[in-house]
Amino acid sequence: MKTLVLVEHDNASVKDATLATVTAAAAIGDVDLLVAGSNARGAAEEAAKIAGTGKVLLADDAAYEHQLAENVAPLVVGLMADYDAFVAPATTTGKNIAPRVAALLDVMQISDIMSVEGDRTFTRPIYAGNAIATVQSSDDKLVLTVRGTAFDKAEAEGGSATIEEVSGKGDSGLSQFVSQELAESERPELTSAGIIVSGGRALKDAETFEQYITPLADKLGAGIGASRAAVDAGYVPNDYQVGQTGKIVAPDVYFAIGISGAIQHLAGMKDSKTIIAINKDEDAPIFQVADIGLVGDLFKILPELTEKL
């Protein structure tokens, strides 16, 4: 099978989510990469170094700068004449574009695959990961999104793919990019962080969250996450949310601080290698999945912990 992988990038460089997607695609067949962007040669050159890939298709057009699904989907559909599968990371970009491609190809997409069980058979989580379905496609072509935490990352270096320029229809005239507010942070990205410190509703407000969670995260060089309750209450921005409907993470160590452990939250972090929970309620459900738990008041525990580490 020939697969086309959507590269996640910011025109200058390739985002990490691409690497696990390449691994998943390689389990299905040969892998070519698509960089759709504007002035995106930098990203294409970086993509060409990913190990185990054939060639990089570079579609460089102002219409693809912000990867609007209305513009990128027809481009992909045009290229799919030569491919059997379109594979995208299950990031907000991939989730936005892939179903649009699938519908145009009249194919039923399989979202968020966790393993490749055969040519057209995959596992995927349903019901917030409380059940794992094995799903087989009968469509001619496959459209898949890939859960990043479920596959190893392909090597970012060592490949030497050729770069081939391709073009599509460009601007569909349906939508327009207006602006973006992206968090500027020195911290590791949540989905690739080795350590994550997450805070919940117990953190009271933005100031308190910052005052208690940030020093511990700084000490450990960790990414910062949050429960939905903490995001809804405005302690931290939306992109911090870990869970069924936020980010799916699987770091080496996950700290859940003042988080009760609702199934929607667990769905996003229960594949972490080690889970450490701090909660004043000894019966909090988070302790049922935590490897290490400490019962007590986080406002007393955290300063002492940060100090002693």
């Binding site: 699904a69 649009r100 699938a102 039923m108 968020d112 059940a131 080496d252 490897d291 290490i292 580490l309």
Partner: protein
Amino acid sequence: MKILVPVKRVIDYNVKPRVKADGSGVDLANVKMSMNPFDEIAVEEAIRLKEAGKAEEIVAVSIGPAKAQETLRTALAMGADRAILVETDDEVEPLAVAKILKAIAAEEQPGLIMLGKQAIDDDSNQTGQMLAALMERPQGTFANTVEVDGDSVTVKREVDGGLETVKLTMPAIVTTDLRLNEPRYASLPNIMKAKKKPLDTKTSADYGVDTARRLTTTNVSEPPVRQAGEKVADVDALVAKIKALGIA
């Protein structure tokens, strides 16, 4: 302007799903079912647009079993004006749902179609995008803010790195994220009134859509269960454990 709001009947989010022993699926017998939470947010946003004078009529649609009427009545009680049930006992995949919605949109001519970003049972996160593709219309997915202005709608989207704002020419498809609004509860008088609002029942054949499945679920199993570990007595013991992990 008319707003079309597709709503799905799903397992209530407070219920912990149980996988059937024979691996055929999740046990939904005698389980509390509710409107998909993201769809409540979509209904609420439609009502707010109507209250702000930006929309005249809200039509709720559900594709599902006869019981999905309850879900539609909830939408009507919240403030939708009328409802369409496309009755089926099959599990209809997002692609087929999108095809049915496209046919309904062709009849109803809505300016906006407001869906949930994902249904919390199958977690596909596809239907809105597929519908937009089939209709050749723009999509504002994972909406955090929606502003209608003349014949365009500006959508602030929740994306991995933060927020992104796009401007779409209507008719447009919007899918809701959690922060868009806090849905209202239906009041008792409104629940009573909702019983008298029109609810049409159709079938997928009425729309000429083939709902044959493209995907076969061969097995549904429990994920590996995580065992609870140990509780430590104090911060010093926790520090020792953390150091043993080699991260500090």
